[in-house]
């Protein structure tokens, strides 16, 4: 609740503070009514070429799509074992996931995802995305292999805006510390600082109801993330994430370095509307697995 309030206030302040049309516009596409904005049209301040500044992360970023992207684990960019499909050796990783604690393993086994080796049809699963429950962070970021996100830098904060489910994350850069005993928040609490040319984001206070990824990997409310972002040139942003969660994993989960490309497109509205998804579940998903009469 508090996090949502913070996010809402943050958005309002940005809208008020920026003369840029970035947040005031919704970009339509050719399928919409005549006269709608073109989808490929970037806001002018993002479209124009600026001198490269490693401390300026402002841009729309997207993970390049690769073969099997739905079956990759984004944190390590490696494939999981897939039913009926052999995983090439070079796609296997020795670094993830670290062994789970008994608590973590029980939580993992309770998940019923619709991707990866344990996948079940959505109508038989319990992935919160099927009902438009908050996916939380960092899961939403990993969907950036299909949907971009953007960084917006303003005084005292960096805003991370994910297209998928329209998630806004506030990274405080005003010198505050992480909360010591935070109430759980869907997207946690995040602070950032510059370490040379690397923007370091630390976060905690995550609600343990969300999954780390669409494979059902668990986390607890003790999860602590460190993200290190580095804009290596005008068009590429590197990220390395380390997840420490002693309640769930017996060792830190160290992600491989992931490179995002600067996307040449604007962020779209991609809402997950609970009532609309419920209607879809009633009429398509549940009948598809025989749970309801077509």
């Amino acid at each position: 609740m508090r996090n949502r309030l913070v996010a809402s206030v943050g958005v309002l302040l940005v809208v008020g503070a920026c003369s840029s049309p970035l947040l005031a516009q919704t970009y339509g596409t050719k399928g919409y009514s005549p006269g709608a904005w073109k989808p490929e049209e970037l806001p002018k301040d993002l479209a124009k070429t600026k001198p490269f500044d490693p401390h300026d992360l402002s841009a729309v970023w997207s993970m390049p799509t690769k073969p099997g992207y739905f079956e990759r684990h984004s944190l390590n960019d490696k494939w999981l074992e897939i039913k009926d499909k052999s995983v090439p050796d070079q796609m296997k990783s020795d670094t993830y996931p670290p062994p789970m604690t008994p608590w973590g393993k029980a939580k993992f086994e309770a998940t019923k995802p619709s991707y990866g080796p344990r996948s079940v049809p959505p109508g038989e699963g319990n992935d919160e995305v099927s009902t438009c429950e908050p996916m939380g962070y960092p899961r939403d970021l990993w969907e950036a292999n299909l949907r971009p996100f953007e960084f917006i830098q303003i005084s005292g904060r960096v805003l991370q805006h994910m297209q998928f489910h329209d998630l806004w994350r506030t990274i405080w850069t005003d010198g505050r510390q992480l909360p010591k005993n935070p109430d759980p928040a869907w997207n946690g609490y995040a602070i950032g600082h510059w370490d040379g040319d690397t923007f370091v984001v630390e976060s905690n206070g995550y609600d343990d109801r969300t999954w780390l990824d669409h494979f059902g990997s668990p986390h607890s409310d003790q999860m602590y993330l460190v993200e290190r972002y580095k804009r290596v040139d005008a068009d590429h942003l590197e990220l390395q994430m380390t997840l420490t969660d002693p309640k769930t994993y017996t060792a830190p989960w160290v992600g491989d370095k992931i490179t995002f490309d600067r996307a040449k497109v604007a962020i779209f509205e991609e809402i997950c509307a609970p009532s609309e998804e419920s209607n879809f579940n009633d009429k398509i998903r549940d009948p598809a697995v025989g749970k309801a009469q077509p």
């Binding site: 596409t29 919409y32 799509t65 619709s114 991707y115 049809p121 609309e276 077509p294």
Partner: protein, 141 residues
């Protein structure tokens, strides 16, 4: 009973091997036979333009007059709108031919591959994924 009838009907219309360009969204690969296709001629009863999934509900009548209520699963409006679809592209009563991947359960549901309108238009237009990204830009699976 209905799922069996639907499955039988689908097989009569033809089950074809298909190249699957993308397992477009959540759970497609486990809920549907993505290596098979069915072709269905029907009449739209409802066009659902919604977030995050669109859907077509349509009736298919066989030679004996039996009507089966089919449904097709589509992606989100954002990506579909780039591929030529819109809120107004379909309405109840429209005739169409649906090509899709059948459900594994045998229920009359498909994951849409494409549909053809009475005027011959085929939608979604090929080669568009969303966010301005062309399918041709992607490596094949």
């Amino acid at each position: 009973m209905k799922p069996r009838l639907a499955a039988c009907f689908a097989s009569v219309l033809g089950v074809l091997l298909a190249v699957v360009p993308l397992l477009a969204h959540h759970g497609t690969g486990v809920a549907y036979e993505v290596d098979k296709e069915v072709t269905l001629k029907g009449t739209v009863t409802e066009w659902i333009w919604a977030n995050p999934h669109c859907a077509i509900l349509f009736d298919v009548t066989d030679d004996k007059g039996n009507v089966v209520h089919w449904g097709a699963e589509l992606g989100n409006p954002h990506s579909l709108s780039e591929a030529g679809l819109s809120k107004d592209v379909l309405k109840p009563g429209d005739k169409l031919t649906v090509v899709g991947h059948p459900s594994k359960s045998g229920a009359p549901r498909v994951s849409l591959e494409h549909f053809v309108l009475a005027d011959g238009r085929e939608l979604p237009e090929k080669g568009v994924k969303g966010n301005g990204v062309k399918l041709n830009d992607e490596p094949s699976q």
